[in-house]
């Protein structure tokens, strides 16, 4: 039915399967980004046990298309309001409906809620994607393919298939890596294991960082969105401060012209005079117009009158268009409007003695500044750069959507930064994502 879809019998013959969340529940407790992230992780569960890979697509047709529907939606399996039937999915061999996954939008879909509260979307999604890949229901009480909803299955980032389910899905698609497929001399290779091997992932993608346990190399407000950079990757938060994906994206794949060999960036900021985005790494800097590098870059940071060794952090004030650079115990003030370093620079940084220096990164909001060091951050008063009470707090918890005992609880019940406070009025044109290449 859909171009290019090659699903036959009980299993897909293709290895790289596209997916898309086509419709979302109306009055949902869960945000769209959360639903997309949970879909991604529920599919990832199956890709970890098989050679399959899944990638999200924006277009209309996807191999696996997720919809939140209600009551009779003309596919022969009408929903029945809250409770009862909560979801269904169709097998790869279904000529009309293969890859269709339907969740009842009348259910109270939850994430990380108490067991007896609502219906855990991740647990049900893993089950339904099992059907999408060809698994039927299982009588095993341990199996995720048991037909009855049995409550949440724990943290999506930690969840792994039970042995029964792993065996069943590998019977259809073979094991995750050809190298790990140990065939005993007596064991005839399964028909499915003779399927063409998947294209191997490019070897030069290092394992990407875990957002819940990493420090930050640089952070910037760009067109109202917040970008956190770590190593060769970055996480992106929407204007509403929602993480767009739990998995980081490769910087060099999005910021065209940034060298793939660049191990890390030291500082990034948006220049409010012309909305260019500046990246600093070691002795060099790059100027981007939207997400494409401008001609003639990189150039040496000495252009700014900065030391050859580069900077630790930088932020730029939209109000007076001054940019502050930090290196060790020193800070520089650069006048963007006239393109000149302030005479008195450098000075001893006002941060000294109030928080550990050198800092890893700095970020300016509309009336406040944030300093990041290790896995914590401070909110600073705009002029004096004095830390406010109730800090440091956890970066992972307040910015990168990590919760749980691993991350220090907030030292004071102040709310984490909201989009409104960080929203500068000086947004340039939105950054259009022309193509998003994920590392896996």
């Amino acid at each position: 039915k859909s171009r290019g879809r090659r699903s036959a019998g009980l299993a897909w013959t293709k290895r790289n399967i596209s997916w898309k969340v086509k419709t979302y529940p109306r009055e949902a407790r869960l945000g769209r980004e959360t639903i997309r992230a949970l879909t991604h992780y529920a599919l990832k569960v199956w890709s970890e046990a098989t050679p399959l890979t899944f990638h999200e697509v924006g277009g209309s047709s996807a191999d696996v298309s997720v919809e939140f529907l209600r009551l009779d939606h003309q596919d022969g399996y009408p929903f029945d309001g809250p409770g009862g039937m909560v979801a269904h999915a169709f097998f790869p061999g279904d000529p009309q409906r293969a890859g269709h996954v339907h969740f009842d939008s009348d259910e109270d879909w939850t994430f990380r809620s108490p067991d007896d509260y609502g219906t855990d979307l991740f647990a049900v999604a893993v089950h339904e994607f099992g059907h999408s890949l060809g698994l039927a229901h299982s009588p095993s009480k341990r199996s995720i393919m048991r037909p009855y909803y049995q409550g949440p299955v724990g943290d999506p980032l930690q969840y792994q298939l039970q042995a029964d389910d792993r065996t069943d899905i590998q019977r259809l698609y073979g094991m995750a890596r050809p190298g790990s497929r140990v065939l005993h001399s007596t064991e005839k290779p399964e028909a499915s294991s003779l399927l063409p091997d998947p294209p191997s992932l490019p070897r030069d993608f290092p394992e990407f960082p875990d957002r819940c346990s990493s420090s930050i190399d640089a952070v910037a407000q760009i067109r109202g969105e917040t970008f956190f950079f770590k190593g060769q990757y970055f996480w992106r938060l929407t204007h509403g401060q929602h993480l767009t994906s739990l998995r980081p994206a490769l910087s060099a794949a999005f910021w065209r012209g940034l060298p793939r060999s660049l191990g890390k960036v030291d500082a990034v900021y948006e220049r409010h005079t012309d909305h260019r985005i500046l990246f600093f790494s070691g002795p060099l800097y790059w100027v981007f117009k939207d997400n494409g590098v401008e001609e003639g870059y990189p150039r040496p940071v000495t252009d700014f009158g900065l030391p050859q060794g580069g900077v630790d952090a930088a932020f730029s004030w939209p109000h007076d268009r001054k940019t502050f650079f930090f290196k060790g115990g020193l800070q520089w003030c650069y006048e963007e409007a006239v393109g000149r370093m302030d005479e008195g620079s450098p000075t001893h940084t006002a941060l000294g003695g109030q928080l550990p220096t050198p800092v890893d990164a700095m970020l300016s909001g509309s009336d406040e500044v944030y300093a990041f060091k290790g896995r914590q951050y401070w909110k600073l008063e705009r002029h004096s750069l004095k830390p406010e009470k109730g800090y440091p707090r956890s970066i992972a918890r307040d910015w990168l959507d990590c919760t749980g005992e691993l991350y220090p609880p907030p030292s004071a019940p102040t709310s984490p930064p909201t989009g409104a406070k960080l929203q500068p009025d000086w947004r340039g044109p939105p950054l259009e994502v022309e193509r998003c290449v994920c590392p896996s």
């Binding site: 409770g83 039937m85 089950h127 039927a136 037909p147 909803y149 069943d168």
Partner: protein, 89 residues
């Protein structure tokens, strides 16, 4: 003549039919399911669910029937080429 199932069991019968334990009633004759067929279907459902096979809709069975679940049947219809769908183990 086989004893047809009493009407007040129609909820369970509909559920057993929905999830593949009971073939749909004959639409032509409107023939209700015989009670033997329903009992056997209940046993099949109890076996799949891992609860004692009593053949009657006892509390454990009714609790499962009320549990939220996936809409797909547990017992898949025979495939077109006559081969039974792959039964798991």
């Amino acid at each position: 003549r086989p004893v047809p199932t009493p009407a007040d069991e129609s909820g369970e019968v509909a559920w057993l039919t929905q999830y593949g334990y009971l073939p749909p009633a004959n639409p032509v004759t409107g023939q209700l399911q015989t009670w033997e067929a329903v009992t056997s279907a209940i046993r099949g459902m109890q076996r799949f669910a891992g609860v004692p096979e009593t053949g009657i809709p006892d509390d454990a069975t009714l609790a499962l029937i009320r549990t939220p679940r996936c809409s797909l049947p547990d017992v898949l219809p025979a495939r077109k080429n006559g081969r039974q769908w792959r039964k798991r183990r």
